[in-house]
Amino acid sequence: MTRAKRNRLIYNCVTFAVVIIAFIVLQGMIENKTITRALKGQLIPICCWIVMAVSLNLVIGISGELSLGHAGFMSVGAFTGAVISGWLLNAHGMENETLRLVLAIVGGGITAGITGVIIGIPVLRLRGDYLAIVTLAFGEIIRNLVNVTYIAVADGHLVFSFLKKNVPDGARMLVDGASGAVKISKISTFTMGFILVMVTLIVVLNLINSRSGRAIKAIRDNRIAAESMGVPVTKYKMMAFVTASVLAGMVGALYGLNSSTVVPSQFTFNQSINVLVFVVLGGLGNVLGSVISATLLTVLPEVLRAFADYRMLVYAVVLILVMIFTNNPTIRSFADRLLAPVKKLFGGRRSDKGGAQA
């Protein structure tokens, strides 16, 4: 096995190991009732943000496209999930929570995927900054549209109305326009969250280390060269984008079914920006990094609760400082020299630099 392949294998194993061990430990704490109430409430959200961060990393880190509307896919998944679960319960009397959850998640993934295709086709033709603003625009459009959507169950079937709330009396509202999804029966579980995280890791890591993943990375590194080698650009950009949107939709359903109410204003560009911060701090293209940063940064505001009013301020200052310290060349080279012995331990083969570097 080549050195590169071995390093990749170690990295993947460590990533899975971290997640599995964390799950076992936390599950144990739940059974023993040694877990704090605060942490228990965070478990499902942490799973959600891990999936969001890893899937966004696929788009930004691997495919190289700055998408600022990722929360939009999450919201599509959340509301689809709420509708499917509510409909199955109220129109079909399906009491089995696990089955409803699974169907809601699958439904959320599919609708988010379709949305991803619809958005991807026009968007992926655009250049960098323009693509960013258009994804942001789509995210806001989705939020606006949910605000004026009314879905209810009446007499065993679904009633849709748009812009005006046109539902028969006595209908059970599922999605109530700006009030969002209401009176949801909370069926999300930590186990399902763990499963979704594992699915995301498998899909993303396997995709990256495959022929398609190499094509996606090649397009990111040098688009013209990739095209000249016969690699179709739009196809692979779509692949990354839609895969990420499906994953976001699936975990969106989980997120939605974890609260009794979900409102569209929870999925603004601020949320997309939050996920972006997770991805950049964890390292572009670094899946394990996204897992860790998403976890830490979801838990951190709670931990900082002690600072109460100052906590977001501290968060902002820390963020700025971390960015400066990790990106300023002077500070970087200083840190590199400090870490040189550590790097040598894990380092790959150095090339024979006989001639001058280009």
Binding site: S210, R211, R214, A218, I224, A225, E227, M229, V231, R349
Partner: protein, 286 residues
């Protein structure tokens, strides 16, 4: 121009489009045929009336002063630009309206004047991109790690190493492409292009930045590649030793137009070519 040591000794024969091809390729379809090919950028005719036929196993050279339009010709052939005039036929197929990917699938591959490697990927992965359309499996087979994934990846690994061994680079397989020395990066680009299994290989200044020893090696390798893979090679070069040494047919470009076509002997003694490179002799200028 100064005397160069070795001349290509292939017997070349004329074909209708005022080009010459090696005699051995006479019965076969030419790998490239351009007719009145040209492109205009807002009034500026970057390339005009470019007619060239390249035989199936010919090593051809495209030379000319800087800014003559040589890379533009490459861009026209590979469909980076859509021509405003004329046609390009690759293995007999018209490339009109095709995009870069479609043209590449017809059997052309190229290297770039300013190296375009996938610098964040390993040397082997760069070659594997070249193999992208040769060894395939679907996205799902990759994600689910079905048996086809394993067999195809193994095959890719073997073939990538085989290709790298042409330039004795198989030991560099795990090195990050961006950290290679300049000459190695150029050689990697050639290997990557070869991996796409082309009928015509376009090399844009392959010897740039190489010392005479490396250039000699490159000349031998280009001939070796042609003989082993039985493909045609068109190269842009400024190094006259290389061009006169291995090119069987040479085309000279100046200000976007062909000023001469022929064998190394023809070109060397052509006064129009000499003038294009060196300018008019002082006495004549007076």
């Amino acid at each position: 121009m100064t005397e160069v040591k070795r001349h290509s000794t292939t017997k070349m024969v004329p074909v209708p489009s005022h080009s010459i091809v090696p005699e051995r390729d006479l019965g076969q379809q030419p790998v490239l045929e351009t007719n009145h090919l040209g492109i205009e950028f807002g009034g500026l005719k970057a390339v005009e009336d470019f007619n060239l036929t390249i035989g199936k196993t010919e090593i051809a050279g495209l030379i000319g002063p800087n800014g003559a339009g040589k890379t533009t010709v490459f861009n026209l052939i590979t469909k980076v630009y859509e021509p405003t005039n004329g046609t390009v036929l690759i293995n007999g197929k018209d490339t009109k309206g095709m995009n870069i990917v479609q043209a590449s699938r017809l059997g052309i591959a190229r290297t770039f004047q300013n190296i375009r490697l996938f610098s964040n990927m390993t040397v082997e992965d760069n070659v594997r991109i070249g193999l992208h359309n040769q060894i395939r499996y679907s996205m799902m087979e990759g994600i689910l790690r079905l048996p086809r994934y394993w067999t195809k990846e193994k095959r890719m690994h073997r073939e990538a190493l085989d290709l790298l061994s042409i330039f004795d680079m198989q030991d560099l397989a795990d090195v990050q492409a961006g950290s290679l020395p300049y000459g190695a990066q150029r050689r990697l680009e050639i290997v990557r292009a070869l991996a796409t299994n082309p009928s015509l290989l376009l090399l844009d200044e392959p010897a740039a930045g190489m010392n005479p020893h490396e250039t000699e090696e490159l000349m031998e390798n280009i001939i070796k590649i042609r003989d082993q893979f039985q493909i045609a090679i068109l190269l842009i070069e400024h190094d006259m030793n290389l061009v006169m040494g291995i090119c069987e047919g040479i085309c000279v470009l100046n200000y976007g137009k062909i000023i001469a076509k022929g064998t190394a002997d023809d070109i060397q003694n052509n006064p129009v070519v000499v003038e294009a490179y060196l300018g008019k002799r002082k006495e004549e200028a007076k």
